[in-house]
């Protein structure tokens, strides 16, 4: 029998603004979307390293920081991280190539060409020492991250899992002919905290999900927009279920408030 799991906290950076457990805040005037997020919008203490984070690292970190700003610390080896990043480090790869062509390859940019650097930045800053995995380069990377986050909890690999799904490209690279169609979408970042136990300050939504391959029985949805719907349900404090089909990957995530 499966252990009940809880979706206990969330945060998102979307084209319209910042979503967190405290509500929705639109972007400031002059900010065009998640790519313009400022440190002070997600983190209430100085972090000199924030400015040097490359776009995928920055949005992943910002979503995690926003989540933890309204939640207790999850430091320690009982918390793990899964990250889904469909475009991988596409923008950073192109930026590194530019420095190579300029004759001075940048070591800092090179280190950020690993998609897993996003996990490292989050883990180091928040003291998260549990297992971590990264899914990159497919349209279902975010789904896979959510799926594995739940599996790791069910299998007692961790007691809390931070699941991050990020779509992050520099605006100049959005129309690159090298970019796969599934990755050429607006920037966004989602962070969800899955737990095995209810917490006093958590949302206390019981979460169930199934993922897998099979016949198409549900209407096709664009990309991973179902995470938008999940965030809206959480913001409205509503029970609900989200079914999805993307490529040949399909399933559902349902949440139900535990009173």
């Amino acid at each position: 029998m499966k252990t009940p799991l809880f979706l206990d906290a969330f945060a998102a950076l979307l084209p319209s603004g910042i979503y967190s457990m405290r509500g929705h805040v639109p972007w400031f005037e002059g900010q065009t979307g998640p790519q313009d997020v400022l440190r002070e919008q997600v983190l209430d203490k100085p972090y000199p390293g924030f400015g040097k984070l490359h776009i995928a690292d920055r949005l992943s970190f910002a979503a995690a920081a926003l989540l933890f700003s309204h939640y207790e610390s999850c430091a320690g080896d009982e918390t793990g991280i899964t990250l889904g990043i469909p475009a991988g480090s596409f923008s950073t790869d192109l930026q590194y190539l530019e420095t190579v062509e300029n004759g001075f390859p940048s070591p800092a940019i090179f280190s950020a060409t690993l998609p897993s650097s996003s996990v490292a930045d989050i883990a180091i800053f928040f003291g998260i020492k549990g297992p971590n995995r990264v899914f990159a380069g497919t349209g279902t990377s975010g789904l896979c991250a959510f799926d594995l986050g739940m599996i790791m909890l069910q299998n007692h690999k961790a007691s809390t899992m931070l699941v991050v799904s990020v779509r992050a490209l520099e605006p100049a690279h959005m129309r690159s002919s090298l970019l796969p169609a599934y990755a050429a979408v607006e920037n966004s970042a989602y962070a969800f905290l899955l737990t095995r136990e209810k917490r006093d300050n958590g949302l206390n939504f019981r979460v169930e999900a199934s993922f897998g391959k099979g016949e198409k029985t549900l209407p096709e949805q664009a990309g991973e927009s179902y995470f938008d719907k999940l965030v809206h349900l959480l913001m409205e404090n509503q029970n609900g279920s989200i079914s999805f089909v993307t490529g040949d990957y399909r399933g559902h995530i349902s949440i139900e408030k535990e009173l």
């Binding site: 440190r39 100085p46 972090y47 000199p48 390293g49 924030f50 400015g51 040097k52 001075f104 390859p105 940048s106 070591p107 800092a108 280190s111």
Partner: protein, 86 residues
């Protein structure tokens, strides 16, 4: 050497994209690596590129590097001593 130190502080902030830091915040005698600026080993490599690109100065080995990157003041002194004369 003061003008060089001032310029160097600005270049470090720009090269390492340090946020929440202004030139006035940088203590020129504080440890550069692992100090309050949060500069790590990757940043040190980036500073090596900065030295070569901007001042045509190289650091030959790790032991020299430890002394050079001890502080902003020691970094400026090394540049002053080793950069090619115009």
């Amino acid at each position: 050497m003061e003008p060089l130190i001032d310029r160097l502080k600005g270049k470090i902030i720009k090269a390492l994209k340090l946020s929440d830091v202004s030139p006035e915040d940088i203590d020129i005698d504080a440890p550069l690596i692992g100090g309050p600026l949060g500069i790590d080993s990757i940043d040190t490599l980036e500073l090596l590129v900065l030295l070569e690109k901007e001042y045509r100065v190289t650091v030959p080995d790790v032991n020299t590097g430890r002394k050079v990157f001890a502080s902003v003041r020691s970094l400026a002194a090394y540049i002053e001593k080793n950069r090619p004369q115009k």
